[in-house]
Symmetry: C2
């Protein structure tokens, strides 16, 4: 059996919150779930077509002046069933590939300064991410529209996931920088 198409379920999930075009979906992904889920046009458009053929979504085309037609997709009842079914399934094992750690593993013969540079760069990026997460968290916890929404605790949990992982990364950076200092003075 080949790999299952995860994009399909991600798109069903997004469309379950409201109809939208491929472009809208991409925007939503980048803004709301981008910190744990990546989507790109190269996959969104073909998968939407495939989902239409499977009757998981329907399409209405809005004609606009100047710009290309807007293909707005709506989730069907079949689509909601398929999403629900997938949500109830246990999570599949996911392969990992952390390029930074791969480089560290093979970096014994590389000038320490270069490795330090890489880790400092990653630390900075993760600190910025942490700031972003704290802002989103504050926004979600504020009055604006979200209060009482049954999805809120779940959205906060995804932000909390980001916070934990980013902090773990920052802590690792600090410890690894200390290790590299020791290596330098040997």
């Amino acid at each position: 059996m080949a790999k299952t198409n995860k994009t399909k379920y991600a798109l069903l999930g997004v469309l379950s919150l409201g109809p939208g075009s491929g472009y809208d979906i991409k925007k939503f992904c980048d803004f709301s779930i981008g910190h744990f889920w990546n989507e790109n046009y190269g996959h969104i458009y073909p998968v939407l077509k495939q989902m239409e053929a499977e009757e998981l979504v329907t399409k209405t085309t809005e004609h606009t002046e100047g710009r290309p037609d807007r293909n707005v997709y709506f989730i069907t009842d079949t689509g909601r069933d398929e999403l629900r079914h997938w949500l109830l399934q246990p999570v599949e094992h996911e392969p990992v590939r952390f390029e930074l750690i791969l480089k560290i593993f093979f970096s014994a013969d590389i000038p320490v300064e270069n490795t330090v540079e890489k880790i400092l760069q990653g630390k900075k990026e993760h600190e910025e991410l942490l700031g972003k997460y704290l802002e989103i968290e504050k926004l979600l916890q504020s009055e604006e529209g979200y209060k009482g929404n049954p999805g809120l605790p779940f959205w906060l949990a995804t932000i909390n996931y980001g916070k934990h992982h980013v902090r773990a990364h920052i802590d690792w950076c600090i410890e690894t920088l200390a290790m590299l200092e020791e290596v330098k003075h040997q």
Copy 2:
């Protein structure tokens, strides 16, 4: 420009530690770098061929009785240069896809028990992983062969990375389970 082939550099890295067959490389990946880097045969064999054409590796074929020929690959000086060049480059941005978190995000209408089940399962798996990492760490720090090896601090850093991330995940599980308890009693 298409994505750069990361497998190539991973294989160069493994072969820089010593020659081996595709099968040997796969074993090494699973055993030594599997906690942060995934490789599979579907990519190893074709990429080794491609690397041979690029003269990054050379091949010698060992004939054996019964079993298929063993194609043993050796890294060339060109290969070492290419590896070194890649190691010095900054780390590229990597897309993320955490299926568990995607499911959590869309789980407001799913029975809480089902979500609890998923998180408990993930927590258990990560606790087992943590145990495994602590064992590997102890092994690396013990006398057996590794003492004084210039790679040791770097290998320990990759294990430390695993420890931090696994602990972050476990902590998130605990907090999320508490959140779900609250949701249940509302």
